[in-house]
């Protein structure tokens, strides 16, 4: 077999593999969207076809009667609060790690960063018992504290890495001009780090939106359910049906897809940086 034929065969082989995987991806999204627009009867008759009409009634039903509106709002509150608190705490710590000198810096850094890899499942049991004792279970503040704790290591890691890339001359010049530490942080470091701050905020919001475990354990009251908990427990609702589950899943997916669509580069950069270093 000549080299030319061989290289064409390789190309065809690659296309077959790539197209197959693409079909699974496209079909998943098609399946989710098409079936959330069908009636239950239509779905049981054929789950593969397009819906016979553009019918938003499932989506409206789960939003108004399935409490998905409340869950959506809960997740927004949890996500945005966690993003803000993690940013403030993370920026302060990262500044110390990147720009200040102090004892046991490296040891402290590695210890804090390594918390990133441990399962929340290891921690939730003692926290659950403790939270019941101090009345922090079934509160936003309790869940936000846990989310912040879980995401802080990555925040410190990402920001420290970024802060260290800021030219030292800029900071030294500001010191010569008599600027205070906080002023340097506020008017030099933070403005220069907007891309990493944006990446981090997106990933943290995504992480909280995506969470199931913390919600299942620490926000058990139905009116506090975050979105993923609400969806995963949909089967037990009185009117639950496949099409309602799809409709609720679609509602939960749309905000993430919009955020990803707008900020693709920041999103991907943040995700990969955490693993390569």
């Amino acid at each position: 077999m000549s080299g030319r034929v061989k290289s064409i065969l390789i190309k065809i082989f690659v296309q077959i593999i790539f197209i197959s995987f693409s079909i699974t991806v496209l079909f998943s999204f098609y399946y989710l969207i098409a079936n959330s627009l069908k009636t239950e009867r239509e779905f049981s008759q054929n789950q593969f076809t397009l819906p016979s009409s553009f019918n938003l009634s499932n989506i409206i039903k789960v939003w108004t009667k399935g409490d998905i509106d409340i869950a959506f709002k809960n997740s927004l509150i949890l996500g945005i609060s966690t993003v803000i608190i993690t940013l403030i705490v993370g920026i302060l710590a990262a500044y110390a790690f990147a720009n200040l000198k102090f004892r046991a810096k490296r040891g402290l850094y590695v210890t804090l960063i390594s918390t990133m890899y441990f399962s929340p499942m290891i921690l939730v049991l003692p926290l659950f018992i403790q939270f019941i004792k101090i009345g922090m279970n079934n509160t936003y503040i309790g869940a936000i504290t846990i989310h912040t704790g879980l995401r802080l290591a990555f925040a410190i890691f990402l920001l420290t890495t970024y802060f260290r890339g800021i030219p030292i001359e800029l900071i030294e010049a500001a010191i010569v001009d008599g600027a205070s530490r906080l002023r340097i942080l506020k008017s030099i470091i933070i403005p220069l780090s907007t891309p990493s701050i944006l990446s981090l905020s997106l990933l943290n919001f995504y992480g909280v939106w995506n969470d199931l475990l913390i919600g299942v354990l620490f926000l058990q009251k139905p009116e506090l359910h975050p979105i993923m908990v609400a969806i995963s427990q949909f089967r037990s609702k009185s009117f639950s049906s496949a099409t309602s589950i799809f409709a609720a899943s679609l509602i939960a997916t749309i905000p993430i897809m919009i955020i990803y669509g707008i900020t693709q580069k920041f999103f991907v950069k943040g995700m990969t940086l955490g693993s390569i270093k």
């Binding site: 790539f18 200040l100 441990f118 003692p126 939106w209 199931l212 390569i276």
Partner: protein, 295 residues
């Protein structure tokens, strides 16, 4: 005095304090409690706590499902990782070489990564349903012997889970590997081409050696991830069943604590999971450069 001041900055403490308090509360404090709870006999509610030594561990280790659960963890790791890595290397090579449509592929392959875990788990639960798309496909193409009740049969539920995880994870590995490959001198590929090497030969002799270090890191990271972050999938897709056929250590903690309501053994399992993870985190820190970020 001045010299000391440039060496150690006392204000650093105040910048670090909020982070340290939160991490101690969310990580430090529960870790200490796990050690303590795993050594006492306690139902989590009654005030009576009596020291019980290794009883909780014995209860876990002699639990007739424990070995099966450990084995499930092992299967997930040894099946998922090689498939994800090999497939990602393959995709990475040909996306890098700009095969026809590579931009679209690159975009599509990353979409599952973005999809929320719970949503992915729900979609694939329907895919694996007895009359769902997968079994329908097998029937249509005449592979009827492959039609099984995926999540109703203890022999297959774990594999249903694994397929879903692979589908969801592979896009991330591709992006990670591509990021590394983009820093490789394209001249290497041109030179190989001039020498008559085909795309599989450059894959074998250029791409894989170039990716070696990032693959090492990815594998360790993925072991940690597969041990620790599968709750959403299992909770939605199988609840660890049928029986314990798709339960892993992580989910076993949940079952012990919230189904059996046995706090001691649940903490013992959590501690075992912690120790195993800790070993891999140490290995990861050795391989990675993250600790060199500060000096």
């Amino acid at each position: 005095m001045d010299k000391l001041k440039t060496k150690h900055d006392k204000s650093a403490f105040f910048y670090l304090l909020p982070a340290i308090i939160i991490i101690l509360f969310i990580y430090g404090n529960p870790l200490i409690r796990i050690f303590w709870y795993s050594l006492i006999k306690w139902d989590g509610l009654l005030p009576t706590k009596e020291f019980s030594g290794s009883i909780n561990f014995l209860e876990v280790l002699t639990n007739k499902y424990f070995l099966q659960i450990l084995f499930n963890n092992l299967i997930i790791i040894v099946v998922t990782i090689p498939i994800v890595v090999l497939f990602a290397i393959f995709c990475c090579q040909f996306i890098y070489l700009r095969v026809f449509g590579y931009r679209i592929y690159q975009y599509l392959f990353f979409l599952p990564v973005i999809l929320p875990n719970v949503v992915a788990a729900i979609i694939w639960t329907f895919f694996f349903h007895e009359t769902g798309p997968i079994n329908t496909l097998f029937t249509k193409i005449g592979l009827d012997f492959l039609v099984v009740n995926w999540f109703g049969n203890p022999r297959f539920s774990l594999y249903g889970l694994i397929i879903t995880i692979i589908w969801k994870e592979v896009g991330f590995a591709i992006v990670l590997f591509l990021a590394r490959l983009s820093s490789v001198d394209p001249y290497l590929y041109d030179a190989a081409k001039v020498d008559g090497a085909n795309d599989f030969q450059t894959l074998r002799y250029i791409t894989i050696p170039q990716l070696k270090s990032v693959i090492q890191l990815y594998v360790i990271l993925e072991i940690i991830g597969l041990l620790n972050f599968l709750f959403s999938y299992i909770f939605v897709m199988t609840r660890g069943g049928p029986g314990f056929s798709s339960t892993v250590l992580e989910y076993f903690v949940y079952i012990f604590a919230f189904t059996y309501k046995k706090i001691g053994p649940a903490n013992a399992v959590a501690l075992i999971l912690f120790v195993i993870t800790f070993i891999f985190v140490l290995i990861y820190l050795r391989f990675s450069k993250s600790s060199e970020e500060v000096d």
